[in-house]
């Protein structure tokens, strides 16, 4: 009696399960590693928000070839240990097909050995040059290299006949990578760095460094950091009455910076992704459509304007989506198709990957903008 009932239950279950799987194929799992909390949350939070928004949108539109996407987000807190634990969970427990993130170069470098070994494609949202140089088989990235941003600035300086500069970089991953590139490219451009200062990520007063710079023969100042440090620098520059041109990095190309730096922001020149000047782009710009769409969409969801950090996650999702559409959802196929991506016009720029190039952007990814009247002006 009992045995019979058991058999009935089992067969019913079996039928139900089969039916279920026939109706909806299991979702494609995408893992995400973002520094949602901790010191790099200015990267991780918009990235997570964007990724969630994009996945919802793709699913609402019917998914990829009828398959839904499932996004599994893990907070790395900007700590390599947590990033490695997280990536192991994504790969071994959730069995994801591809990974986006991490947000920071440090986290990315920490998880590269794991994804390389597990053979899972990863599209990092961090900017460090060493992520894709040398090229690693399974690792791609969307964030523009600092190596592309620096020449934009130096080009502009050369035009202004600026030869001696002071640099002020933050002592975290972003700043130290920027400093490296500044020093490297200065030689090529024949620009002399005569004052090389740093500040801590939590510092609230940079007048000492700026006073020192003021006393030097620098003709311009380059500050490399992410909010809020550069805002303090901008304010301190104004307080000290320093009139030297102030250049900054793409790390501050967000509305937030202008809000924080207040009057100090006026006149600052920086390389930026096109996202902040989307409306000023010419109609022929291939990125314009994606940019406007992203900015609007983000604002609708989160009530603030989307910035280019969120854009890294947007690009990562769209690149993976494209790869799956072309070649299916196995990790190896996603990797191969990612590498074949040609001229995908996204937020960060127009991406073309190849077997030698997993960064995919040219210096064209950056435009030079100036802050005027609390808004962005495209410098041509």
């Amino acid at each position: 009696m009992l045995k019979q009932m058991f058999r009935v239950v089992i067969s019913v279950l079996f039928v139900v399960l089969m039916a279920g799987s026939a109706v909806a194929a299991p979702p494609i799992k995408i893992g995400a590693l973002f520094a949602v909390s901790g010191p790099a949350s200015f990267l991780g939070e918009p990235e997570r928000n964007t990724a969630k928004m994009m996945v919802d949108e793709i699913n609402k539109a019917g998914g990829i070839k009828g398959r839904q996407l499932e996004l599994i987000v893990i907070d790395t807190q900007g700590d390599a240990t947590k990033a490695v634990q997280g990536v192991n969970k994504l790969i071994k427990d959730d069995k994801v097909a591809a990974i986006i993130g991490p947000s920071t170069t440090g986290d990315t470098m920490a998880v590269i050995p794991v994804v390389e070994k597990a053979e899972i494609p990863m599209v990092s949202c961090a900017a460090g040059v060493k992520i894709t140089d040398p090229t690693k088989k399974w690792v791609f990235k969307t964030a523009q290299n600092d190596a592309l941003a620096v020449p934009k600035i130096f080009d502009h300086m050369k035009k202004q006949k600026i030869n001696k500069i002071a640099i002020l970089t933050v002592s975290d991953g972003f700043g130290s990578s920027g400093r490296e590139q500044l020093v490297l490219h200065a030689k090529q451009f024949g620009i002399q760095i005569i004052s090389d200062e740093t500040y801590g990520p939590k510092d609230t007063d940079m007048t000492a460094q700026l006073t020192k710079i003021r006393g030097s023969e620098a003709q311009a100042i380059v500050c490399w950091g992410t909010n809020p440090g550069p805002a303090v620098v901008a304010r301190n520059v104004k307080q000290l009455g320093i009139t030297l041109p102030l250049y900054m990095s793409h790390g501050v190309s967000s509305k937030k910076f202008i809000e924080l730096a207040d009057d100090g922001a006026e006149g600052i020149i920086l390389p930026s992704g096109r996202v902040v000047v989307a409306d000023q782009l010419s109609k022929s710009d291939p990125q314009k459509k994606a940019l406007l769409n992203y900015v609007e969409n983000y604002k609708k969801h989160y009530n603030v304007e989307g910035d280019h950090f969120g854009g890294h996650a947007y690009d990562a999702i769209m690149l993976i989506k494209g790869a799956i559409e072309r070649g299916g959802d196995s990790p190896a196929a996603i990797r191969d198709q990612l590498e074949k991506t040609v001229k995908y016009a996204g937020i960060g720029g127009t991406f073309s990957y190849s077997a030698q190039d997993h960064a995919g952007l040219t210096s064209d990814a950056f435009v030079l903008v100036q802050i005027k009247n609390k808004g962005w002006t495209l410098l041509k």
Binding site: D79, A80, Q85, K92, G106, M109, G128, S171, D172, G173
Partner: protein
């Protein structure tokens, strides 16, 4: 059964459990979690020797963990040392540094000691960050080689599991031995009343410094193992937050209990898994947990378990008596 025999039995059961666990977790992600639990257990035990036994607080222990990781990482990547040799050197150097700074630091008591160790931790963190040429600075040091014994390379979860847990078990055994010896008693005596301990002939000053050095040495071994299993290190893993996390492990597990340290390390390592549902609430839960544990369960979870165990034990005893 005497107390000693019971201790030995518990350790043997624990060892057996550790050795056979991978059989049930083949290829699972939890093997990787257990690797980190092993490293954190070593760190928690190291801190517990200082905090739980000698009663001396350290809010900068992540610095010794980081020192072990960085010395090992730098020696192997920049000077191609063998990882084992690098581990020994990093342990001795960290222990040595602790011994030197231990004399002035451990003269301080209570809140002042807390603040001085915290300051030490921050200074070390700044050094990891700023000596870019040596440590790679904030973006980290990559390409650290795996440990190997001849052709056996510890580059996967299973191998790393056994490597780390064999060393963790050794650390546990040695710490249990130490805690039950005259040194362990002297440390606990210092904890309860330093004055009385000194009057009984315990050289509190030297003993505190010695245990500080031992604690730093174990932390550095853990750091070195961490560096060689992760193959990448960056300063963010060795900051003030991690020092606090270590203290939390010891408190939650149970001050002065070696198995408590394991329990605390295990809970804090897997906790983010469970708190992930809470998203950003985890930091709040974390703070609440620290406060509530200190207020209502100062003996840590291990004392709670012990109470439950005793309650069950006495019930069984009662039953067997009434049956007889």
């Amino acid at each position: 059964m005497t107390k000693e025999k019971r201790e030995i039995l518990i350790f043997l059961i624990f060892t057996l459990a550790v050795l056979i666990t991978p059989l049930f977790l083949r290829g699972s992600y939890y093997l990787n979690v257990l690797v980190f639990i092993g490293i954190n257990t070593m760190l928690a035990i190291a801190l517990n020797l200082l905090l739980g036994y000698a009663g001396q607080i350290s809010l900068g222990h992540a610095a010794f963990f980081g020192l072990g990781a960085y010395i090992s990482g730098i020696l192997t990547t920049r000077f191609s040392f063998d990882p084992w040799l690098a581990m020994i050197i990093s342990a001795l150097m960290s222990g040595g540094l602790a011994f030197i700074i231990g004399f002035p630091i451990l003269k301080l008591k209570g809140h002042y000691l807390a603040m001085a160790t915290l300051g030490f931790g921050i200074i070390m963190f700044i050094i990891f960050n700023e000596t870019v040429a040596l440590t790679g600075g904030p973006s980290g040091l990559s390409g650290i080689p795996n440990i190997h014994i001849n052709s056996l390379v510890f580059d996967n979860d299973l191998n790393n599991y056994y490597l780390i847990w064999v060393i963790t078990l050794m650390v546990m055994l040695l710490s249990i031995n130490l805690s039950q010896s005259r040194i362990g008693r002297a440390l606990r005596a210092i904890h309860d009343s330093e004055v009385a301990a000194r009057v009984m002939g315990v050289n509190a000053r030297v003993l505190k410094v010695q245990i500080f050095a031992v604690s730093a040495l174990i932390s550095a071994v853990a750091g070195s193992l961490y560096a060689h299993t992760m193959t990448f290190i960056s300063p963010a893993s060795f900051g003030f937050n991690f020092s606090i996390e270590l203290v939390t492990m010891v408190i939650i597990g149970g001050l002065g209990s070696i198995y408590g340290s394991f329990l605390g390390a295990a809970i804090l390592t897997v906790l983010p898994e469970f708190l992930r549902v809470l998203q950003d609430f985890d930091i709040v839960v974390y703070g609440l947990m620290l406060i509530l544990m200190t207020m209502f369960m100062p003996g840590g979870l291990i004392s709670g378990l012990r109470l439950i165990g005793e309650a069950i034990g006495s019930r069984i005893k009662r039953k067997s008596v009434s049956n007889a």
